[in-house]
C-alpha cells in the first residue's frame, strides 16, 4: 500500500494544512471479512485473494477466499437462522428491512466510495447506491403483501374449506451478479429473504469489497445473524459444494459462467433443488418495475394447500 494512504513517504503529497497533520498520522487499513452467522470472519482456510485498492492502483487489498468449509459453515448458520426468521411476522420482517434501508442510507457515502474504488465513476456509483436503498424500501413493503397476491381460497366442489398460501423454502444459495455489485447483490437477496428464506451468497468477484461494506449495514439493521451470509472468493470453487449440499433448498444463479452453472444444475438435481439461472444486463437491474415484481418473491416460495371438512 503506497504513499497516498499515509505510508512513510506521505509527506511528498501533502499539500494542505490538514494534509500536513495527516501526513504524520498513519492511516488505518481495513481487514475485509466475510459475514457468516452474524459474525465477521476470515476464511477458515486462511486464504485470501487480492483486489486493487482502486482502479489503476498498484496497491492491493486482501479479500477472504472462501473454502468449501466456509460454505458449509454458512449453510449451518443459515439453516439455524431460518426457523426464527421464517416464523417472524411479515410486519416484523418489513420493519427490519426498512431498518436496513436506514442503515444503508447512513452509509451512502461509504458505499459510493467503495463502488468508485471498484471501478465506477462517482456519478454512476451514487445512482447505484440510491437505487439500492430504494430497492430495500420496496421489498420492506412486500413482506406482508405478497401472501395476499399468491394465496387463494379454492372453491372445491364439496363440503371442505380449502386454501393455498405461500411459505418460505429454507436456505437458498445465491450467486450475485458481477455488476452491478451492490444493486445486484441487494436485488437478489431481498426477494428471497422477504418471504422468510435465509441465504448463503457468493458475492461479486469483480467488486467483493462492496459486499463487505453492505454486510456491515446488515449487521446493524436488526437482521438476525445467519439470515444473510456473504462469502467472497471464486464462485467456481464454492458453488459446486453448495449445489450438492442437501440442506439447501434452492439455487439462484446470476450471470454465472455457463459450464459452472450447468454443473450446478446437475448437482442440484441430487436433492431436487429449485434452480433459477439468469443473466440480467446492468440496465435490467436498474429496472425497478421488473426487479421489484412479485415474481421475484414467487420464485422462492412453496405453496401449501390445506383442506378441512366443513360439517357438524
Amino acid at each position: 500500500m503506497a504513499a497516498k494512504n499515509g505510508g512513510p513517504k506521505a509527506e511528498d503529497s501533502g499539500k494542505t494544512a490538514v494534509a500536513d497533520t495527516e501526513s504524520v498520522r498513519l492511516t488505518v487499513r481495513k481487514a475485509y471479512k466475510m459475514y457468516v452467522g452474524g459474525a465477521f470472519i476470515r476464511s477458515e482456510s486462511g486464504r485470501t485473494t487480492q483486489v486493487a485498492e482502486a482502479p489503476g492502483s498498484a496497491s492491493k487489498e486482501n479479500i477472504p477466499r472462501a473454502s468449501r468449509k466456509d460454505g458449509r459453515d454458512a449453510v449451518v448458520a443459515a439453516r439455524a437462522a431460518w426457523d426464527g426468521w421464517s416464523a417472524r411476522t411479515g410486519y416484523n420482517r418489513g420493519q427490519i428491512l426498512y431498518r436496513l434501508a436506514e442503515m444503508l442510507d447512513a452509509r451512502a457515502d461509504e458505499l459510493t466510495k467503495s463502488l468508485v474504488r471498484g471501478g465506477l465513476d462517482p456519478k454512476q456509483a451514487a445512482v447505484e447506491v440510491a437505487a439500492t436503498i430504494d430497492r430495500v424500501i420496496a421489498y420492506s413493503g412486500w413482506t406482508d403483501k405478497y401472501q395476499s397476491l399468491f394465496s387463494s381460497l379454492n372453491p372445491v366442489a364439496g363440503p371442505h374449506f380449502n386454501f393455498t398460501s405461500p411459505e418460505s423454502m429454507g436456505v437458498v444459495a445465491v450467486v450475485a451478479p458481477a455488476r452491478p455489485a451492490l444493486l445486484g447483490l441487494a436485488g437478489c437477496i431481498l426477494p428471497i429473504i422477504a418471504s422468510g428464506n435465509t441465504v448463503v451468497v457468493l458475492a461479486s468477484e469483480a467488486d467483493p469489497r462492496t459486499s463487505v461494506t453492505f454486510s456491515e449495514a446488515l449487521a446493524t439493521s436488526d437482521l438476525p445473524g445467519g439470515v444473510v451470509n456473504i462469502l467472497t472468493g471464486p464462485v467456481g470453487e464454492v458453488l459446486p459444494h453448495l449445489a450438492k449440499h442437501m440442506e439447501i433448498a434452492a439455487l439462484d444463479l446470476h450471470g454465472v459462467d455457463a459450464a459452472i452453472s450447468k454443473a450446478a444444475e446437475e448437482q442440484g438435481a441430487g436433492s431436487v433443488k429449485r434452480v433459477r439461472v439468469r443473466s440480467l444486463n446492468e440496465a435490467e437491474w436498474f429496472d425497478a418495475a421488473a426487479t421489484e415484481s412479485p415474481r421475484w418473491i414467487e420464485r422462492f416460495v412453496e405453496m401449501k394447500t390445506i383442506w378441512h371438512p366443513a360439517g357438524q
Partner: protein, 512 residues
Amino acid sequence: MSTKEAASTAPATTAAAKPDAKRPESKAIGMAFGDVWTYAPAPEARDHIKLQAKYDLFIGGKWKAPESKKYFDTISPSTEEKLAEIADASAKDVDLAVQAARTGYEKYWSKLRPLDRGKYLFRIARALQEKARELAIVETMDGGKPIKESRDVDVPLAAAHFFYYAGWADKLEHAFPGRNARALGVAGQVIPWNFPLLMAAWKLAPALAAGNTCVLKPAETTPLTALMLAQIIEEADLPPGVVNIVTGAGATGAALVGHPGVDKVAFTGSTDVGKKIQRALAGTQKKLTLELGGKAANIVFADAALDQAVEGIIGGIFFNQGHVCCAGSRLLVEEGIHEVLIRKLKDRMATIRLGDPLDKNTDIGAINSRMQLDKIRGLVAAGEAEGATRFSAPCVIPDRGYWFAPTLFTGVSQSHRIAREEIFGPVLSVLTFRTPEEAVEKANNTMYGLSAGIWTEKGAKSFWVAQRLRAGVIWANTFNKFDPSSPFGGYKESGFGREGGRQGLLAYLEVD
C-alpha cells in the same frame, strides 16, 4: 371375490379362536364384519367395451403406425389377459410428434381466439362425461383399480379438470394481473400408471388452456385410457398437432424430455426418474415441473375423533392399492391411543374386500404390474427383516393376477426402510409420538414433502401442526381429497410446481 372369502370364513371373535392357516393373525381381531356378511358378485358389465386389437400413435391429428414398427402388449393386471397391442414410439416418432406440436402451436393454437381455445376444452370435458362408463371400465381393466374408484374418482375428476381449466383460457390476464402472461410453446409431458386418465387431464388441461400444445406420453402399463382420450380429442375436432399422444416405455419418455424442440417438461412419477430428468435438462433453459414421490405422515392425536380417523387412515393408505404418491403411508399415533387405534384398524382391515376390480363391491384391486408387486414384496420383506411386526388382513388372494393383501407394520422406527422409502402399495407403517413437537419432527424427517394428514378435534392445534409440516398438501381431519381448483404438489424431493387451481397455470406460462 366374495365366494372364495366366504368359503374360508373362520370364527375370529375370541382370542381362543383356532388359528387358520390362511389367517395367521385373525385371533387379534375383535370383530368379524367381513366374515359375517358375504357379498354376491356384482361385476360391472364389460361386454359393450370394444377395444381395438392394436393402437397406433396419435400425431398431428392422425393415427400413425410407429416408425419403429414395434408394438408391445398391455395386459390386465387382475387377470394377466392381453388387452391390446400398443405402438412403441421411437426417438424418430417422438421427433415427428414434437414437430407436429410445433406446427400445431404456430399455425393454429397460438392464433386461436382464447375463448375458442376454452370451448375446445369444454368439448373434451363433455365427451369425457358422456363416455364416463366406458372410460371407467377400461381404466379398471388396464390398471387394476376398483371400478368404484375409476367410476367415482378418476373419470369424474378428469372431466372436472378439463371443465375447470377450459374456463381459464380466456382469463389469463386476470389470473396474473399486470404480469403479461404468455404461453411457453410445446410441452412434453410424461405421466405415471396410477391414475392414467386423471394424470393425462392434469397435464393437458392447464397446458392447453394456457395456450401451449402438447406431446403426452402415458405409462407403458396403462396406455388405453390416454388413447381413448386421443379419440375424444379427435372427435372434438381439435386442430391437428395440438395434442399428440406417443406410447412407449422409459426410452420414449427420455426421447421426449430430451427433445430440443420441447420448451417445457412436466413429469409425474418417481423421485429417481425426476432427478434424472432434472439432470438431463441442466443448462437447456427448458421449463420444468416435477411431481414426484411421497412418504406422507398421517398424524393422529389422542383427541381425534377416532372412528373418523380410522376411515381416513384406511382410505389414506389403501385407496388405489396404495399406488398414490400422496398416500398416508406413515401413521404417527399419539402413544396413549396406539393400542386402541391399532385394534380398530385391524378390525377395519378385516372388512376390506380384495378381488376382481370390476366388481362394484371391491375395495382393493390388483397391483398394477408384476414389477410393482415385486417391489412391494421386497420392501415388506425388509420391514420384517428389520424387526417391525407385520399384520396382513385376512383375505384370499385370487389365483391369477398381481395382488397384495392390505398390510400394516407396528413397531416401526424412523430408520427402517418401510418408514423412509416409498412403497407405493397397500402397506402402512405405524410409529408413535408423545408431543406435537415430536410428531412434527418425525413427520418432517423425510426427503419427501408431498402431503400430510392431521387428526385432532382441536382447531388451533391442527393449524399449529399444519403450519409446521413441510408438505404441499395438508389434509386436516380428512385425507386424499382432490379438486381441480385446489393446487397440488410437493416440497423438497417430492418435486416442484403445482397442478390445479390458478397456481397450476404458472407451470405453463411465462409471467413477468
